[in-house]
C-alpha cells in the first residue's frame, strides 16, 4: 500500500463524509460466528472529535466524484475541489485494520454518485459483501442507499449491512427542488418503502425459521439538513413524524447546515451554524420517541417554532399548566415522564422507589431529578411546595434566572437568515 497516496485519499474522503451526522452503531444483533472477527450489538463511541461528536464508525465516501450538483453539498459537481476514489480492497483493508485495533465499531460507507445509481450502489454492496463473506467480519456496517437504486441491489445490501439509510436532505419536497434540482423525492422514498417491506417480511420469516438470514437488523434511518432552507420546526418535525410512522425508521437525524459553499440560494458563508436549533430538534425528537409526546403537542399552528431559550418539554409544560401539579407518589409513569427536569431513568427510579416509602424532596434530588425545573410542577411527601399561582412567563423567568444556559449568549432568532 502506498502510504502517502492512501493517506491523501483518506483525508479527502473522510472530510467529505463528515457532514453526515449519523454515527449510531447500536441496535444490531449480529454475533461473532465461527471464531470470526467482531460483533455488533451495543453501540460504542470509540472517540470524540474536538467538536464533541462521537466517532464510532469509519465514516468515508467511496468516492467524491459526483454527477449531481446539489447546492448544499461540498462534493457537488461544480465545486472545484480535489477528487479521489477508493478501491473496494482499500476500504476493506482500512476497515479490518482499524477494527482490529479497537478504533471503530465498523464501517459507514457512502458515496458520490458516479455514472448512475445502480453502478454506485453495486460498488457499495461489493465492499460489504467482501467484508462479510471473505473476511468473516461481523462488525457494524452502515451503507447509504443511493436514490433510485434497483430493488435487487437493495435486497443484497440488506443481507450484508446492519443499517441502511437514505438522506431526505431537505425536510420538504419544495426545499429539495430548490437546492437539489437533479434529485427527486420519489427516488428516495421508493427504496425506503422497499426496505421497510423486506424488513417486515424478514421478521415474519425469522419467527417461522430460526435460521433465516438476518436482514438489515438495525433498520433504516435518514437525515435532514436544517437551516439551509426556510422550513420551520413544525414542518421539520411533522416530516420526521411522517417517516417514523410510515417507514418504521429507527432514527431521523437533524444536521445544522454548515455554510461551506457560496450560492445565492443558501445562507451566506459567514452565517453561524444553527446549533441550538439543531439541539432543540433533537430534544423534540426524543420527546416523540421516548416520552410519549405526539408531534402536535410539541409544535402546532400556534407554536410552529421551538423556543431556543428553554427545552421543548418545559415549553409544553408551561403551555399546559392545567395538567400540574402532579403528586410524584401517585401519578402514572406516563405523566411523570412529562415533568420538566425528570428524565426517563429518574422517572423509572421514582416509580420503583415509591413502593418502599413516600418520596420527599431530598429523595428526589438524590435520584437525580433537576429540582430547579421540576419543583414548579410536582408535589411530594412534604408540606413545602410551590403554592403561588405563577404564570408561565414567571416560571420561565425564575428557571432561567437560576440556570446558566450554555446557549444564552448565542441565541439568535430562527428566521434572521432570510
Amino acid at each position: 500500500m502506498d502510504a502517502e497516496r492512501i493517506t491523501e485519499k483518506l483525508n479527502i474522503l473522510a472530510d467529505a463524509a463528515k457532514y453526515d451526522v449519523s454515527c449510531a452503531s447500536s441496535g444490531s444483533k449480529r454475533k461473532n460466528e465461527n471464531k470470526g472477527l467482531g460483533n455488533a450489538s451495543n453501540g460504542i463511541c470509540h472517540s470524540y472529535t474536538e467538536d464533541g461528536r462521537c466517532v464510532s464508525l469509519l465514516k468515508i465516501l467511496l468516492t467524491n466524484h459526483c454527477i449531481y450538483d446539489c447546492a448544499y453539498c461540498i462534493s457537488r459537481k461544480s465545486n472545484d475541489i480535489k477528487r479521489a476514489g477508493f478501491t473496494v480492497q482499500e476500504v476493506v483493508d482500512l476497515t479490518i485494520n482499524f477494527y482490529r485495533r479497537n478504533y471503530i465499531e465498523g464501517l459507514f460507507l457512502s458515496s458520490g454518485i458516479f455514472k448512475d445509481a445502480d453502478h454506485t450502489m453495486e460498488r457499495l454492496v461489493r465492499v460489504a459483501k467482501k467484508l462479510r463473506t471473505e473476511h468473516n467480519f461481523n462488525g457494524y456496517i452502515h451503507l447509504k442507499s443511493i436514490p433510485g437504486a434497483s430493488d435487487e441491489l437493495m435486497r443484497e445490501a440488506g443481507l450484508y449491512a446492519d443499517r441502511l439509510s437514505i438522506n431526505l436532505e431537505m425536510p420538504t419536497e419544495t426545499g429539495l427542488k430548490l437546492l437539489a434540482p437533479d434529485k427527486n423525492r420519489q427516488d428516495m422514498i421508493q427504496p425506503m418503502g422497499f426496505l421497510k417491506h423486506e424488513i417486515i417480511q424478514n421478521n415474519e420469516e425469522k419467527k417461522l425459521f430460526k435460521k433465516a438470514p438476518i436482514f438489515a437488523p438495525a433498520g433504516q434511518s435518514t437525515q435532514m439538513i436544517v437551516g439551509a432552507t426556510a422550513e420551520n420546526d413544525k414542518e421539520v418535525l411533522t416530516s420526521a413524524n411522517y417517516f417514523y410512522k410510515n417507514f418504521n425508521l429507527k432514527r431521523v437525524y437533524y444536521s445544522s447546515y454548515v455554510p461551506v459553499l457560496s450560492d445565492k440560494r443558501l445562507p451566506g458563508l459567514n452565517t453561524a451554524v444553527p446549533m441550538i436549533r439543531e439541539n432543540r430538534l433533537f430534544q423534540a425528537d426524543w420527546l416523540m420517541r421516548f416520552y410519549g409526546f405526539k408531534v402536535n403537542e410539541i409544535v402546532n399552528d400556534q407554536n410552529p417554532i421551538l423556543d431556543l431559550d428553554i427545552d421543548p418539554k418545559l415549553s409544553w409544560a408551561l403551555r399546559n399548566q392545567q395538567v400540574f401539579p402532579i403528586d410524584i407518589n401517585k401519578a402514572d409513569l406516563q405523566l411523570i415522564l412529562r415533568v420538566p427536569g425528570i428524565g426517563v431513568q429518574s422517572a423509572q427510579k421514582i416509580v420503583s422507589a415509591r413502593q418502599f416509602r413516600k418520596l420527599s424532596w431530598d429523595n428526589l434530588k438524590a435520584l437525580g431529578v433537576a429540582l430547579n425545573r421540576a419543583k414548579y410542577f410536582i408535589t411530594c411527601n412534604s408540606n413545602i411546595f410551590e403554592k403561588r399561582d405563577l404564570t408561565g412567563t414567571a416560571i420561565k423567568q425564575f428557571i432561567l434566572a437560576e440556570s446558566q444556559s450554555k446557549y444564552l449568549k448565542k441565541i439568535q432568532p430562527q428566521l434572521s437568515l432570510f
Binding site: 472517540s47 474536538e50 479497537n102 420503583s352
Partner: protein, 252 residues
C-alpha cells in the same frame, strides 16, 4: 462504635456480616489489615475469614436478592473503590433487616449509593471497551495498556473474547500490574516484568510492520472528521477526560 479489622476480601466482608448479627453489634466501621491507629476508647475487633460463616451469609443473600443483585455486590467489591465495603456492609444489613427484596428501594441511602457505585464502575468498564487501543506486535499479538480508575479488567474479558475471537490479544493494567491474555482458545490472567515500557513508541522493532502506518492513518482520520466551525472543547473533555489521553493513539 466498634471498629472491625478484616482481611479486605469479599469472603472477609461476609464473615463480618455474620459476626455483626451473632454479636448483635450496632454501629461499626470497617478497616482493612494494616490499620494501626487505635483511638483510646474505641472497641476494636479482629475478624478472621471463616468459610462456613461465608456460606451461610451467601445463602441468605441468594434467598433475598436477585442473581443480578448479588453479582452487583461482588463487582462493586472487586472494583476496589475507596470505602466501598462500608457501603456494601450497610446494604447487606438493610437486605437482612427487611422482609422484602430491597434492590429498588432508592430512598435508602445504601441502596442509592450502591446504584451510584455500580454506575461509576459500568461507566469505567464501558470507557475501557471504547478507549482501549491495540497495537499489533511483531508476533501478531494485539497489545493494549490501560490505567483504569477502578479494577475493571475482569469485567472486560467477555466483551473482548466475543469480539476479537480470531486474533491474540493482551490487555494490561499498568496500575494494578496484571493483565488478561487471549491465546485464540481461552483467556488467562497474567503478570509480567517489564524491562522497558512497551506501551511507549520508543521501540518500533517490536511492532508489526504496518503498525505505524495504521496509527498514522487513524490520527489523520481523526483530524479529518473534525468540523472546526463547531469546535466545543468543553464537550470534548467531558467525553474524553484527559486522564485517558496517554493511551489513546489519536490523542498522543
Amino acid at each position: 462504635m466498634t471498629t472491625i479489622i478484616y482481611d479486605g476480601t469479599f469472603e472477609g466482608l461476609l464473615t463480618v456480616v455474620f459476626e455483626i448479627y451473632e454479636r448483635k453489634l450496632q454501629q461499626v466501621r470497617l478497616h482493612k489489615d494494616e490499620w494501626r491507629n487505635g483511638a483510646l476508647f474505641e472497641e476494636v475487633l479482629t475478624i478472621v475469614t471463616d468459610q462456613p460463616k461465608v456460606r451461610r451469609v451467601l445463602n441468605g443473600l441468594k434467598e433475598r436478592l436477585s442473581p443480578d443483585g448479588l453479582k452487583r455486590l461482588y463487582i462493586t467489591h472487586l472494583a476496589e473503590m475507596q470505602d466501598s465495603d462500608n457501603t456494601l456492609l450497610g446494604y447487606i444489613r438493610h437486605v437482612f433487616d427487611s422482609e422484602i427484596n430491597i434492590e429498588e428501594d432508592y430512598g435508602n441511602k445504601y441502596v442509592l449509593r450502591l446504584s451510584e457505585l455500580t454506575k461509576m464502575i459500568g461507566r469505567e468498564r464501558h470507557r475501557m471497551e471504547a478507549f482501549i487501543r491495540f497495537q499489533k506486535l511483531s508476533d501478531g499479538t494485539f497489545y493494549a495498556a490501560i490505567e483504569p480508575n477502578f479494577n475493571v479488567l475482569p469485567l472486560l474479558i467477555k466483551h473482548f473474547r466475543d469480539r476479537y475471537a480470531d486474533q491474540k490479544w493482551l490487555i494490561y493494567d499498568l496500575k494494578r500490574k496484571y493483565g488478561i491474555y487471549y491465546d485464540l482458545d481461552k483467556v488467562e490472567y497474567i503478570e509480567m516484568e517489564f524491562s522497558a515500557d512497551v506501551g511507549n513508541n520508543k521501540l518500533p522493532s517490536i511492532y508489526f510492520e504496518d503498525e505505524q502506518l495504521y496509527q498514522h492513518l487513524w490520527k489523520n482520520y481523526f483530524n479529518s472528521v473534525n468540523i472546526p466551525s463547531r469546535k466545543n472543547m468543553k464537550l470534548h473533555l467531558r467525553h474524553i477526560p484527559k486522564r485517558y489521553w496517554k493511551h489513546l493513539t489519536e490523542k498522543i
